[in-house]
Structure formats: C-alpha cells, structure tokens
C-alpha cells in the first residue's frame, strides 16, 4: 500500500502545472466563500462595536426591547434618575438613539444616531481621529471612514430627519456599511422626534463587588415597563440580530462555492485519472485492488483540497491587509473560528469530488494495459 500511495503522491507532484491549476481553481472557490464570510464577520463585529465599546454592567431600555440593532426604545428620563439613586449604582448615562436615513452630501446612508447629554459623556465616541468633541446643538461627529469614502470634511453639513448638522469631528472605529454611528447632542434630536423627557438606553455602571444579577432583578422589580440586561446578554442579542440578517445569504454563497469547489476537484481528479488511465490499468493488471486505487484518488483529492484551502487562507490574509487601502468601507475580520470552521466542509467536498473518478477507476479495464501507446 505504501508504494501505491507514493505513486499517487509522485504523480501529483510530477504534474505540477495541472495540480497547481486545480489547486488555484479550488482555492478561488474557497476564497469566495471565506471572503464573503470574513466581510460579513467584520460587518457584524462593527455592528456591535458601539455596545461593545460602551461596556456597561447593565443596559436599561424599554420593555420588549433587548438589543440596539434595528430597534427603537423610549424610557422616561425620571426612570434613569431613579436607577441612579439605587444602592450599588455608581453611574447612569442615558442617551437618545435613532436608526434612520442620514444624508451625507448626495448620498443617503442608513445609520445610528446617538444623542448625548454632554459632548464628552460616557456614551460618546471613544476615539477621535480628527476634530473635537461636540459643544453646540447643530454639531455632529461622523465616522472617519466617511472622510475617505465621500471626502467629507470639517464644516460640511450632514442632514438627519429635518435638520442639518455641521461636522466638527471624526470618530474612529464607528463605521460599518450597515450602520455607521453618528453623534449629536440630544436636545435638537429630541425636538426632531418630539420625544422630550425620554431617552432610549441607559448605561448602568455598578460599584465594585456589587452582585450585578441581583441589581438587574432589583431594577426590573422596582421600575415598571423597562428591560434590564447585562452587557453579555445585550451583545449576544445584538450579534444574533446582526448575523440572522446575513445567515441565509452566507449559506447560499457557501453552497454555491462548495459546489463549485467539488466540481473543480471532481474534474481535476477525473482529468488526472484519464491522463493516467493506462498506468492505472497497469497497476490493476499487476494485482492492485479497486479499494487501493480508490484510497489513492481519495487521498489525492483531500491533499489537493487542503492545500487549496491553505492557499485560500493565504489569499484571504493578503486581502484583509489590502482591503483597508482598496475599500476602507469594507471591514474584513479573520478569526480562528472563521478559518477552521470550513475545514470539515473541505473534507466533505474532497470526498464528494473523488466519487465520480473513483467510480470510473473501478470500472477501468485492466486489459487496457495491453493496448499500445
């Protein structure tokens, strides 16, 4: 068996051009699926970037709401004040939140607008790449990616609902194509929404050594019509909402790319088997059993597929480095899970790809060895 495996390996390495061409084809299929998943992963991470960075111990919002993405919430401000007075609560920061269409020059973007009580408060941008914090009601801080994508500069106007806002600062890490985050002062936004006396979410920071779960229960018991969730729960809810939106698309893309990869593998193995069918007939004639040849084809298929997969990962790493330069609005996120998760799928594709060549091998006539040429 060792020698027949060596033959399988050497046959692959002898036909470098054909093997490489197959590998690149398969790698391209994997790359398509992986790139799409990595972009989606990056986008999803960015969707939850704001709540991730806020990182309070508890989130307070309207009853029936449990996340931020695509949600609306209104809570009376006196409820926030009541929470702030509870034992074990160190700080409560409320903010108004609106997801809406924002006009940036001639472009309309869907985005999150965060209305702050104070330009430097806890719910505001965590890092500015340029400009300053909010000081006046008609000012806005926008994601810095908009500067490179649309050429937006300080002093330009951005429209939200019925009002224009002047750009005074650019924030870092707040862009995603699904929901870039914009910061304004809350009073003008409240006027646009006719929502005086309400805020959307409250970030609750607790004192050291406070039992967060107990405090969560206490707030929910003492204050009506609100929902209180921990940071971990809030992120999980938001993440689930974000991934649900792309799950079907990713599944379809994965299926298409996997089928493409399986077809390329099948074609590559079949071409190799056809090209080497005289040798395969000789191998059968001198006493090899069908299962031994099937193992060779299967291992060849797995080897080519896994090498192609590694190649795709390398391409993906290069792309993730290049993307911020080529298209800064697209965030590519590479995680160990994203890279390792499709490996079993690659095995399955390799097996499927080797089925047809294996069937052809089993039916190959060993008497072909006597044919000349």
């Amino acid at each position: 068996m060792k020698m027949i495996l060596r033959w399988g390996y050497k046959t692959l390495t002898m036909q470098k051009a054909a093997t490489l061409a197959s590998m690149v084809g398969i790698a391209f299929s994997f790359l398509l699926a992986l790139f799409f998943a990595a972009v989606w992963q990056g986008e999803t991470q960015q969707i939850v970037a704001y709540p991730n960075k806020m990182n309070p111990d508890l989130w307070v919002m309207q009853d029936g709401v449990s996340n931020m993405h695509m949600a609306s919430s209104f809570v009376w401000d006196w409820k926030g004040e009541a929470i702030a007075k509870m034992a074990g609560v160190e700080q409560v920061t409320g903010f108004l939140y609106l997801n809406t269409v924002i006009q940036v020059q001639d472009n309309k973007l869907f985005g999150f607008v965060v209305g702050l009580s104070d330009g430097k408060d806890r719910a505001g941008p965590w890092a500015l790449s340029d400009g300053r914090h909010l000081e006046n009601p008609d000012e806005i801080i926008v994601p810095d990616t908009l500067s490179s994508v649309f050429g937006l500069a300080q002093g330009d106007t951005v429209r939200i609902v019925d009002k224009g806002y002047r750009v005074v600062g650019f924030s870092k890490g707040t862009y995603s194509s699904a929901n870039p985050v914009f910061f304004v002062l809350k009073d003008r936004l409240q006027a646009s929404l006719s929502s005086d006396g309400t805020l959307s979410y409250y970030l609750v920071d607790t004192e050291p050594d406070v039992d967060i779960k107990a405090l969560q229960q206490k707030i929910m018991t003492e204050i009506d019509n609100i929902n209180v969730v921990t940071q971990a729960e809030f992120i999980a809810n938001d993440y689930e909402m974000a991934t649900q939106m792309g799950a079907e698309t990713i599944l379809i893309m994965t299926l298409i790319c996997s089928t493409l990869a399986a077809l390329i593998i099948g074609y590559a193995c079949y071409s190799l088997a056809i090209k080497k069918r005289k040798e395969l007939a000789i191998i059968k004639a001198v006493g090899a059993r069908d299962y031994q040849l099937v193992i060779v084809v299967l291992l060849q298929s797995i080897a080519v597929t896994l090498l192609a997969y590694l190649l795709a990962i390398n391409f993906l790493v290069l792309l993730s480095v290049a993307m911020p330069l080529i298209a800064p609005q697209i965030t590519v996120a590479l995680t160990p899970s994203l890279i390792l998760k499709p490996v079993p799928l690659a095995f399955v594709i390799a097996v499927i790809g080797s089925v047809y060549p294996a069937i052809k091998l089993i039916s190959l006539d060993p008497a072909l060895a006597y044919k000349n040429g």
Partner: protein, 246 residues
Amino acid sequence: MGEILLIMGPSGSGKTTFLSMLGGLLSADEGEVLIDGVDITQLKPSQLPDIRAKTIGFIFQSFNLLDALTVEENILFPASLLDEKTDSVRQRCGELIRKLGLQDRRKALPQTLSGGEKQRVAIARALINQPKVILADEPTGNLDSQSGQEVMMLLHDVARDQGVAVLIVTHDPRVEDIADRILWLEDGKIIDRKAESHQWIKDPVCGMRVDEWRALHFVDYQKSRYAFCSRRCRERFVENPEKYVE
C-alpha cells in the same frame, strides 16, 4: 525447468486477447484457464487481483513502467501489493537489479532509460513476486535487434534457471530459436507445432511466399501439395488448377 511457449499468428488473430484471458484480465466465454492447477475462470472478480499479483508476471510491448516511480520502486511495486516482509522483498529486488545489470540505474526515472533498460526493469518487476508464469506481449517489439536479443536471453534464463513458464506473444521470428513450443493462432484456431525451420513455398495463385508448415489452406493436386496464403487463393486454384500448375 520452465517451458518457453510462443504464441504467434497474423495481426488481429486475437493473440493479445488470448494473453489477456490467460492473465485473468479478460473473462473467457467458455473453457478453462488453469494456472498452477487453479481454474481462474471460476474465480470471483475480487479474487483475481491476488492471483495476478502472486502467480503471474506481466511484460508489455511498450514496457508500461510507472513514470513517477524510480527503477527500484517500479520493481518493488507488485510486491508492495502483497503482505510480504519488506526485508526479503528488498533482498530479492537487489538480486534482480544485479542480475539484470541495473545497479547504476536504481534511482533513475523511466524517462531516462533506454528501451532495453526499460524492458529489463519490466522483467524484474514481473519476477519480483516469484510468479509461476510470465505473460509477455511482444517483449521485443519496441527494441532494436541487440536489445531484443538480450531480452530474449533473459527470458530464456528465467525459464531455465527459475523454472518459470514463459508465454510470449510475438511476431519476431528470431524468438522461435529459444522456444520449446510454438502455438499458431489464426481464424480462432490454435495449431500446436514444434519450433522448426520454415518451409517457404510460393502461393501458385498470387505468388506470395507462404510457410508451408503454418499454412491453413491446402490442395492436393496431381500428387503434389499446394499451400495458399488465403481461402480466396485456394478457391481460385480449385476453379482452374491448370492455369496455375506448370
């Protein structure tokens, strides 16, 4: 001492098909193929690879070495399909390489070998599992006369020294010199004859040279025997013998 048996006949007479059936590569519609007392026509298809690997050595006209493997690996290949101890196989391989004068080509790839060397590797490969019979299809067909002569002498030695039966399909009349028996296959019939010198006579109808011994078409006319290259010539002769007899 093994017998050397030649299978000869015109092109298209079925020599290779016959050899394929003897080697268990094609199934026979009727009859028996006995190898070392085992009728291989009665075996299941799944049993044939084992029989081929253990009892039959194959030699082909176009050498049929595996391009990706070295000389040594090609020789060891059939042995690797069986569960034999590696040491004894390697020792046997070394002996074959020495006997066949391939010591310097042990690590060479087939594409770098001459035709004669390739056929010697093929012979070593056929012998590695110590088969009972070797089936050789035109072993000298792609070789120059000197290499062809060397290969025939090797097959001769294999039969004499190792007691292996050697069946050779060939067109090459020079091979007849080393054969113990010659089978002539034509029109689905096998004629068994001893290796003798040819008796060339002229077909009286078409004038072609015909081996009187091998010819299948005869007519006895006026106390003489006439041989013909084909049935057609024979029929023409029968229609009007005087026309062709001086």
